[in-house]
Symmetry: C2
Subunit: 293 residues, 2 copies
Amino acid sequence: MSTVDPRLSINQGTIKKADLAEALRATAANGVSSIGLWREPVQEVGLATAAKMLADSGLRFSTHCRSGFFTMPEGPARRASIDDNLVAIEEAATLAAAGAPGSFPVLVLVAGGLPEGSRDVVGARERVRDAIGELAPAAQAAGVQLAIEPLHPMYASDRCVVSTLGQALDIAADFAPEVVGVTVDTFHIWWDPEVLASIARAGREGRIATYQVCDWKTPLAADVLLSRHYPGDGVIDFASLTRAVEETGYDRDIEVEIFNADIWAKDPDTIVRETAAGFGAAVSPHLRATVAR
Amino acid sequence: MSTVDPRLSINQGTIKKADLAEALRATAANGVSSIGLWREPVQEVGLATAAKMLADSGLRFSTHCRSGFFTMPEGPARRASIDDNLVAIEEAATLAAAGAPGSFPVLVLVAGGLPEGSRDVVGARERVRDAIGELAPAAQAAGVQLAIEPLHPMYASDRCVVSTLGQALDIAADFAPEVVGVTVDTFHIWWDPEVLASIARAGREGRIATYQVCDWKTPLAADVLLSRHYPGDGVIDFASLTRAVEETGYDRDIEVEIFNADIWAKDPDTIVRETAAGFGAAVSPHLRATVAR
């Protein structure tokens, strides 16, 4: 197990079929020391139980995935979304407190797409900013950093109207960096001609809440949500992107988050081992010498 | 036929199964007065014959689609691509001269994706600039405007490393605007948070060689190349984009270019009529009062 990078974190989405107990077991058993959790499997056992299970695992907690989905206009659906985001903030705070030292209370936010029947992407983006404004005081009180995640523009209409890192930073700019940061996910932003400049800006502004890695390969899966690959299996240049993130001083864990039906079909131990191998080959060489935690 | 917008141009890709003769016939017979041609059906009959057929049709010629594909490193494949692009420049000049008054010698350029096995998107983009530098003198001599087309970022790895209108303008900036312009295609750029500013910049810099419209709708087709829809059938806000283009003073024809297996399966007359109807409903209301040509 000595070959597993100490900064690798397995995002639970990568081993989607594992419940919380199995995800914690497979991650720790294969020498990985950090995990990013998803809300549904946490809620399945209840937050207090999940926190105890996480503490017992000895793993660090790197992010809570995911909340957001607040592009709808004012009304009951929007109120329900805000309320649910407040629950997610509490979950992130509780889980980070239960994780091993080096855990961070980061809550990943996916904005949501255009409301049904709407063509007003500009308005939807304004409502993202408004929602974060509503959530920021609760996040600050809980010590949670919200991490706005720009998603690839192919998801702009149906999943996330925040499409570039620069745009995420523009939204975050209204708030304190320890309250509102950004998610830097290679899959979503590798194509952006401004990506290196935007990563540097995110660092200068203290906004990189989490760095997530997975690869891009074509042809895309028929369901484009499931087109993510192990680092090294596609065309993303992890050297330049990882170095750009490292140069900002980012020193948190680095998650691998993959949605891929072929990978999900494998058993969790295999997935964790293959993830660690891909990470070790494609990402680790571009990290600073790791400081013992 | 009086209801067909006089600025509508049918891109031949929209009626892909029609050969040149059928494309010209279906376009003219259904009251459309302009057409954008594709290289393959032109070459099928030969350039001189194609030019005569176009002249006989009485249609204007709006663009020639498409050339480019020059991201590979120096070597025989790159030389072959440059040579083929020089042929395409001559084709565009000849066809525009044969079209009715109001034709423009525009050659659309799709850059190409990453070379096989490469992860160097920055280098590929530099080679796009280099290739255009090689082609510019020939284009200028022929009176042809090259139109760099940014393609949606979901095509960045396998089809076009130029992903935003701003990036296309940055490449074009090294050249005179009458020689190197850009293609403004709603499908590819609607999601861009900078799209309205980039359209305004393109206008200020005199770079809008062609404005092309089709719609975006999810779920994307399993082959994401074929996800384009009639204007009005998806989520693109043609009002804001069309007004932004019009405000630049753009007064050329506006092409509808759709790749969609369900649409291609229809007969060309039906496609042209449905295209004209969609354009009339979704785009025409946002055009300035049309000046008679």
